[in-house]
Symmetry: C2
Subunit: 205 residues, 2 copies
């Protein structure tokens, strides 16, 4: 209820940010991530290099799309605590992917998301950073399970199971990009989870 009409400055800033990212993804796709210096991205977007860094802390952040950590954590927290961890997390991943990539209002983001993922799959440095982000998401998900992360010994099994789920997610995202979105993402995630944890992962046991 608090977000009211964006001021002119905010709109301009958001436009600048969007332009920078769009030109970056285009140039990286055309010439390869490593072959495009940040100065070229800035020039294409009509801004200075410094402005790029003010909007995106690192060159890698130009491509790495925000992960829906909050969305996933909510759904994990809402899942029955009696279920095994892979069931709880797996269900949340499929649901979040459906919300974000299936349906009419997600069509615009979809294209951009696929472009970013393709770059991520093709570029080692981007893959590394992407995996790091999923690792960060792990901590959020473990907390959402209702486990105190301070007690490392007790949290260990949960961390292991969650990281395994997120690895399956990563494989599904990679396949989705390779296939250029030809198969719906939720289905790929479901198949990745099934291949890892058995056919019951997505059944409410």
């Amino acid at each position: 209820m608090s977000e009211r009409q964006p001021t002119l400055r905010e709109r301009q800033r958001s436009e600048t940010r969007h332009a920078i990212q769009a030109h970056a993804v285009r140039l990286f796709t055309e010439r390869g991530y490593d072959a495009v210096p940040v100065t070229d991205v800035a020039e294409a977007a009509g801004v200075s290099a410094m402005t790029v860094y003010r909007h995106f802390p690192t060159k890698e952040d130009l491509v790495l799309v925000d992960q829906p950590t909050g969305l996933i954590a909510e759904r994990v927290a809402a899942s029955p605590t009696t279920w095994p961890v892979p069931h709880r997390v797996g269900g949340a991943l499929v649901a979040a992917a459906t919300a974000l990539t299936v349906g009419a209002e997600a069509a615009a983001d979809r294209r951009f998301l696929l472009d970013c993922l393709r770059l991520m799959v093709a570029t080692p440095a981007l893959r590394a950073r992407h995996l790091e982000r999923e690792y960060a998401m792990q901590q959020a998900v473990v907390e959402a399970l209702g486990i105190d992360p301070a007690d490392a010994e007790a949290a260990f099994p949960a961390r292991a199971a969650v990281s395994a789920c997120l690895a399956a997610l990563h494989t599904a995202l990679t396949r989705w990009a390779e296939d250029d979105g030809g198969t719906e993402l939720p289905e790929l995630i479901a198949r990745a989870l099934t291949a890892s944890f058995g056919p019951d992962v997505l059944r409410a046991a």
Copy 2:
């Protein structure tokens, strides 16, 4: 049968390399990875910065220890093809970890390995690169399973299951470093796998 007496040059080169890495890990541990420039490592080891780069392509490689991809792939390939993927890979991981960290002849490496892993856990850039390496290992393990990686659609379930196993491995390595080697690594891996895939993963079904 071909590896004969190392010549003087080879010994010197190997010594230089070892000195560089030892000083690097020491300095990084003392002052933090990001706070130590490569020039300081070079100076401490008594060489020029250029020499450091000739031995280690990037600063990160000073800490990232070689992963025993070959060892694991061999054991995976030798496992019964009738077993589920997590069983085949899980067994290989536990066996490789036992060979590398348990026993008298592994004691020296153990200390160094723990130092490197602690740095890896503490430093985001190193974590990212380490995850990337495990991702590279995934491809080798999938091949070792006897699956043609060219057929992406057919390899997809295997890739998902293998990446989930390796995620469990990563969690175990992290815990091992946090605990400073207080629990044997094979046991941690076994627990991580069990938490993810159920109690039968390490039983010959």
